[in-house]
Symmetry: C2
Subunit: 266 residues, 2 copies
DNA sequence: TGGTGCGTTTGATAGAGATCAAGCGAGACT
DNA sequence: AGTCTCGCTTGATCTCTATCAAACGCACCA
């Protein structure tokens, strides 16, 4: 493993605040692995032996039931995933698949649990990370139960814009059918939702989406800080209160600037 | 506060494994409070100053957006709630309201965070609790994205049956309109879903639901251990792997027997 | 260069769920 | 008892979303 990779791992919210010893214990048995695209890393129901840290590429988490499948999250570097299963030493509830060539650090679950027992600061960091993940899912559920598909897409585009600091031009990071499943609709309906957003200044050309009128789009999307983690708050951002730093298991735009991140786990 | 109440709190998964000192630190500033029914305990967006422990009664967690509202969870004793917000010292993402007369222990968030810093075992317990909560939400999302409303109702009834150890007669614990919102549908459609289940041996009389053919109901519901935490697994239950003991922030049937509980946080 | 495969789009149709509007029934109050 | 309220049900209708089917565009490749 390269030293620069260890640096990146060390910079994760999960490890920043942690004693050097603890970090060594946790990453002692870790190994770096490369996977081609479209590779299954983990099947739901499998025992989880490792904490995964995505260093490069994209990973999709999905779930299945009765021959139906849905995408639950799409991860980009640097993110950890299935921390919850590792903490409980339980079986995975989601399957993981690479969407493209990936570089992944695998840390034995035992090492994580041992480090938690040794270092209360690490226990605290794990708790904070999990709390962030939990709150991210609360946001997701509110998004799904309170909004229709067009509203979800509109907010997704605004989140993307906020995450990428892009002006009016946004680039989709994954195939539309994957995005459709993530947003809880069919590819056909995603197309129609994009069409519906034309009246609000949105035009699509392949993966490039142009937002000609943020105002009009926001009027439809009505982004809400209690659902969309990028949405502006009334007043200055309180440092600690915002510490659900988008840590892991979610889409992440800019690893080096957590406070500007888009949809988070919180 | 009665000693018996402290006993009940101590028996929570969050505190069982914890040093007596830590428990004292955590519960030092706690106070017990009674609330009438239909009282708002917390509004989404509010800063969260306390960890709530529901000792008696029922509490509903819900979220709103754009004049729409949805029930996210219904809690029964003994449950803790908004632990995630407490850990992060963040604002609430869900509102909390009593559904009936309630007895609630309120523990200052500072005390919880201090205890975490002092006792790695407590940090571990918090992590485990949050991991369980997280996994519960993953199950919820899979339930909503992969199943239609009738299937969700069918599985809800089976979960209730498993939780209550009731034979073929199940009692609904809350108003049907609350249940409808929890299951992500309108009261009207809940009625129709019940009607549709008649063909699978389900009859309703007020809050009493009779399941005349578990087999037929399961054929429709297809309960899955990776969605429904009560569903039987192939083989013996592995102790540790099942430790997402339904800890908190969720519907709970029998406080004294965590392993037989229904829908959990996992 | 002309397939060939795949992701996407578009159209037509069907089904699931929401909304609107009444009516029913049980408990509460006068 | 009467009636009022409120939660639940039932029916009609409308909207949203899924499904089925076909066509398009584009990359890949022989």
């Amino acid at each position: 493993m390269r030293a620069s990779d260890l640096e990146r791992v060390k910079s994760l919210p999960l490890f920043t605040d942690v004693a050097a010893d603890t970090f060594r214990v946790a990453t002692a048995g870790a190994h770096l692995q490369r996977f081609p695209g479209n590779t299954v890393l983990l099947l739901e129901g499998d025992p989880v032996d490792f904490l995964y840290v995505l260093l490069d590429g994209q990973v999709e988490l999905h779930g299945t039931w009765n021959d139906r499948e849905t995408v639950l999250a799409i991860l980009r570097p640097v993110s950890t995933f299935i921390l919850a299963a590792v903490v409980l030493d339980a079986e995975a509830l989601m399957s993981a698949r690479t969407l493209e060539r990936c570089e992944i650090l695998m840390i034995p679950g035992d090492a994580i649990r041992t480090a938690m027992r040794l270092d209360p600061r690490f226990g605290m960091a794990v708790s904070r990370d999990l709390a962030g993940c939990y709150r991210g899912l609360v946001r997701t559920i509110k998004n799904h139960k309170l909004r229709n598909s067009t509203e979800r897409l509109a907010n997704y585009l605004l989140a993307l814009r906020a995450a990428d600091n892009s002006g009016g031009v946004v680039r989709l990071h994954h195939e539309k059918r994957v995005l459709a499943s993530l947003l809880g609709m069919t590819p056909e309906n995603l197309s129609r939702a994009f069409a519906a957003l034309q009246q609000h200044g949105v035009t699509v050309e392949g993966a490039v989406v142009t937002l000609r009128s943020i105002g009009a789009l926001e009027a439809l999307a009505k982004p809400d800080p209690l659902i969309d983690n990028h949405a502006p708050r009334g007043g200055e951002i309180v440092a600690e209160a915002d510490a659900e730093v988008w840590s892991s298991e979610w889409y992440r735009a800019n690893p080096s600037d957590a406070s500007a991140a888009g949809k988070r786990h919180g």
